[in-house]
Symmetry: C2
C-alpha cells in the first residue's frame, strides 16, 4: 500500500470518530491546536526558513516567496483565526427540517459532516492550518496535499497539530499530510471514492481544471474570477468613480477584483475622461476598444485575449456598449460566474441585469470586492465556489457538511404484509 492509499484509508476511519464526538470535544481539540502553534513559533519559523532558502535557491518569483513566508505576525494571525472559528456555532446536528407524515413517520433532516475532505493547494502554509481547522470544526477528517515548496513548513505544522490532538477525543489521523512529492501518487485521491468524500482544490486555474477533469470523487470548485462592472447610462458619476476604483485598485491580486469594465456609450462620452483621471491616479493601465479610445486618447489599444484574462494586476480593459443587453451578452461570453456588478439608477436596467446574469454574486451599486465569507458575515472563509451544485459563492461552515434523514416510525409498512399466523 502506498503512502497516499494508507493515509486515505486511515483518514476515513478517523472521520467516523470525528463525526461522533461532541461539538465541545471538537472545539477543545481546536484550542489545543491553537495553543500548540503558539508554543512552537520558533520551530515553525525555522522550518519555514528552510522552505524560503530552497525557494531562493530555485529562484522562485518574489511574490511566490512572499506567499510562502511565515512571520511571527502571520502566525499570530493564524492562531487568532483558529479562535475565531472556535467562536462560531457549529452547523452540526442542526435540524434542517422536520416533517411529520400522515402515516405517522417523522422525517427529520439533520446536518452531518461530509466525512473525509482531501485538499490540494499551492504554496501557502496558512492554508494547511486553515483547512484542517475548518474541517475539524465541521466534524470531518482532512488529507492535506500542499506544494512541495512548502513541505518543511507543512510537515512541522501538521506534526504540531497531530501532537496537539493527543490529549483530545480526536484521533491523530484526523489530520494527514501527503509528504510524497510525486504528483502521480497524489492522483490516487482523485478516484479513492471509498475513502474520500470530497476534494477541494485551492489555487490557480490549472490546478482546479486538472482536479475537475480527472477526479471521480466529487469536487468543490473554487475559483477564477473574471469579474465585470457595467456602467449604465443612468449611473451616478461620483458613486461609479468610487466603486470602480475600489473594485479595480484596492487589491487587484484577488479573485473578486474587477477585470473588465463595460461602459454605456452615453455615460462614456460624458464621464469616461473623468474616470480615466481616477484610474491613472491609481496607477491602472487602461486598455480599450476603438470607441473608448476615441473618447480618451490616454486609453491604449486592447490586446487579443484581454476580455478572457483574469489579470490580478493593475490592468483594466474597457469596452463601450450600446445597452445593458449587450453588457449581459459580453458577461455571458467571458464571465466565470463569480461576481458581476451593475452601476445604475434605472430600475429596469437593474432588474434585468440582476435576473439575467448567471453568477454566484450579482451587485447593484457596490464594489465586487465584498464577495468573501467574512464580508458576508459567515465568520470564516472556506473559499468562494464558482459551481452551481452544493454551494455557490462565499462558503461558510455548512459548505463542509451534508445532511441525512432520520426517520422514526412505529412499524410503518408500505403495504399490509402477509404474515404466517401459526404460533411457534
Amino acid at each position: 500500500m502506498t503512502e497516499v492509499q494508507e493515509k486515505a484509508k486511515r483518514s476515513k476511519v478517523a472521520s467516523k470518530k470525528v463525526a461522533l464526538v461532541s461539538n465541545d470535544a471538537r472545539d477543545f481539540a481546536l484550542e489545543r491546536i491553537a495553543e500548540a502553534i503558539q508554543a512552537n513559533v520558533t520551530d515553525i519559523l525555522s522550518a519555514n526558513h528552510q522552505d524560503i532558502a530552497e525557494a531562493k535557491k530555485n529562484q522562485l518569483q518574489e511574490a511566490l516567496i512572499d506567499r510562502l513566508t511565515l512571520t511571527e505576525e502571520r502566525l499570530a494571525g493564524i492562531v487568532q483565526s483558529i479562535y475565531d472559528v472556535i467562536g462560531l456555532s457549529s452547523p452540526l446536528q442542526e435540524t434542517v427540517s422536520t416533517n411529520a407524515r400522515p402515516n405517522g413517520l417523522v422525517i427529520e433532516e439533520v446536518r452531518v459532516p461530509l466525512g473525509c475532505i482531501a485538499t490540494i493547494y499551492e504554496a501557502r502554509p496558512n492554508v494547511t492550518v486553515d483547512i484542517a481547522v475548518l474541517s475539524i470544526k465541521t466534524g470531518n477528517s482532512v488529507i492535506l496535499r500542499g506544494s512541495t515548496s512548502t513541505i518543511h513548513s507543512n510537515k512541522k505544522l501538521v506534526a504540531i497539530m497531530k501532537q496537539a490532538l493527543a490529549d483530545t477525543e480526536l484521533p491523530e489521523d484526523t489530520i494527514s499530510l501527503i509528504e510524497s512529492p510525486d504528483r502521480e501518487a497524489t492522483k490516487y485521491l482523485f478516484h479513492a471514492k471509498e475513502f474520500v468524500d470530497v476534494i477541494i482544490p485551492r489555487g490557480g486555474k490549472k490546478l482546479i481544471d486538472l482536479v475537475v477533469r480527472e477526479s471521480s470523487v466529487p469536487v468543490i470548485e473554487t475559483g477564477a474570477g473574471n469579474c465585470h462592472m457595467y456602467v449604465d447610462e443612468s449611473a451616478d458619476v461620483t458613486l461609479s468613480r468610487s466603486v470602480i476604483v475600489d473594485a479595480k485598485a484596492q487589491r487587484p491580486s484577488v479573485c473578486n477584483a474587477l477585470e473588465t469594465l463595460l461602459v454605456h456609450k452615453d455615460w462614456a462620452s460624458k464621464h469616461l475622461s473623468c474616470l480615466m483621471d481616477d484610474l491613472l491616479l491609481n496607477k491602472v493601465t487602461v486598455r480599450g476598444d476603438e470607441r473608448a479610445r476615441a473618447i480618451d486618447e490616454r486609453i491604449v489599444p486592447l490586446l487579443e485575449d484581454d476580455f478572457d484574462t483574469e489579470f490580478l494586476s493593475l490592468t483594466l480593459p474597457i469596452k463601450v456598449v450600446d445597452s445593458v443587453e449587450e453588457a449581459v451578452d459580453h458577461i455571458d461570453t467571458y464571465g466565470t460566474k463569480h461576481s458581476e456588478a451593475i452601476l445604475s439608477e434605472d430600475e429596469n436596467s437593474v432588474v434585468y441585469f440582476m435576473n439575467a446574469i448567471d453568477a454566484a454574486c450579482v451587485y447593484h451599486n457596490a464594489s465586487t470586492r465584498f464577495t468573501d465569507g467574512i464580508e458576508f458575515g459567515f465568520g470564516a472563509e472556506v473559499g468562494i465556489s464558482t459551481q452551481k451544485l452544493h454551494v455557490r459563492g462565499p462558503m461558510g461552515l455548512p459548505a463542509l457538511t451534508s445532511t441525512k434523514y432520520r426517520i422514526k416510525g412505529n412499524g410503518q409498512t408500505k403495504a399490509q404484509p402477509i404474515l404466517n399466523t401459526l404460533l411457534h
Copy 2:
C-alpha cells in the same frame, strides 16, 4: 458541428429564456405538453409498438420489454403526473436568506435554475416526459439521451412536447433529444462544461459509474441501494416480522428494498424461525451464514458475493451478529449509503445506529421502502441521491435548482478610494 454539440449549444441558449419567464409561463407550457400527449395517444402507442417489435426481434428480456412498453393506462399516469407537477409551488425566486450587513449592503440569496440539465437514462419512455417536465418546472432546459431501444417512442414524445411549446413563451430548444445511437458521440456531453450545467444519469450502476468516472460536468448520482435492516436484541417480534417482509417482498425490484438482513444472535435464537415462516410464505429465498443455518435449516448457504449484491429480487442473505456495533461495521463495509434501518426497542442502540450510520436515510422501526420523493411529501420524484454534495436522499424540485446572491448597495467600497478632485 456534431448533432450533440449543436443541441448542447442551442439548449444552453434556450436555458436563459426558460430561466427568465414567469412561473405561470412555465406552468402554461406544462399544461400544453399534458394536453398534447393526451391528444396524441394513438401516435405515441404506435411509435412504442415499433420499439416493442424491435425489442422482441432482438430477444430482449421480458422484464425489459415490460419496462419500455407504454399503454393507454400508463400514458394516463404520465399525464396525471404532469398535472401533479403543475400543482406544486415553484421553488424559483424563493428568497433563501436575507442578510443586511452593518455597512448597508443587503445580501439576498435567491433560488435560480441550474441552467441546462443533461440526462442519460435507460429504456423507460416515461422518464423522457418526467425529466422534461421537472426540468421545465424548475426553469431549466433539458437534453435527453434515452436508450436506443426506445428511440421511436422518445422521438415521438419529444416531437409532441416540442410542438406543444410552439404556443408558449418557451423556445422549442428547451427540450432536446439526442437521436444518434453513437455512445462515443454522447460522451461529448460529459465535458461540455460551457453548455451543460449538470448531468443526471438514471439507470443501473454501470451507467452511473461510467458517467461519474468520465464526466467533468458535475453529476448528480442517483442510485444503487444495497439496503440493510438490523434486528436488535430488543426488537419487537410482531413489528419486525411485518417491517422485514414489507421491506423485502412488497416490491423487491426497487432501490429502497431490503437486500441484507442482520440479526442479533439472541433475537435470532428466539425468533428467526418464526420470521422464516413469513419469508417463505412470501416466496423469499433466504441464504445465511453458519450461525443462521444452525438455527433454521431451511436457510441455504450464502454465496460469495451475497453481501455485495443488490439482488432486486426475492433473495435475502441473513447474517447473525453479536452487537449493534458489528451491524454498523457490516453496513459501513457493504452499504451504498442509501437506506438503512434498525428495529429495536432499546434507546441506546437506536441512538448509536442513527448517528453512526452514514447513509441518506436511516430508519428506526419502519420499512426502508419509504425512501422516495412522494412518500417524503415532495410531490414529485426527481430520483434518490446517494451522494453527499448538493442533495442527499429523495430529491424534490429544489434539487434541480441552485442559488445566487443579489447584493444591493448605495456605493459601498472596501476602502476609501483615492479620486481625482479636479473638475472636468
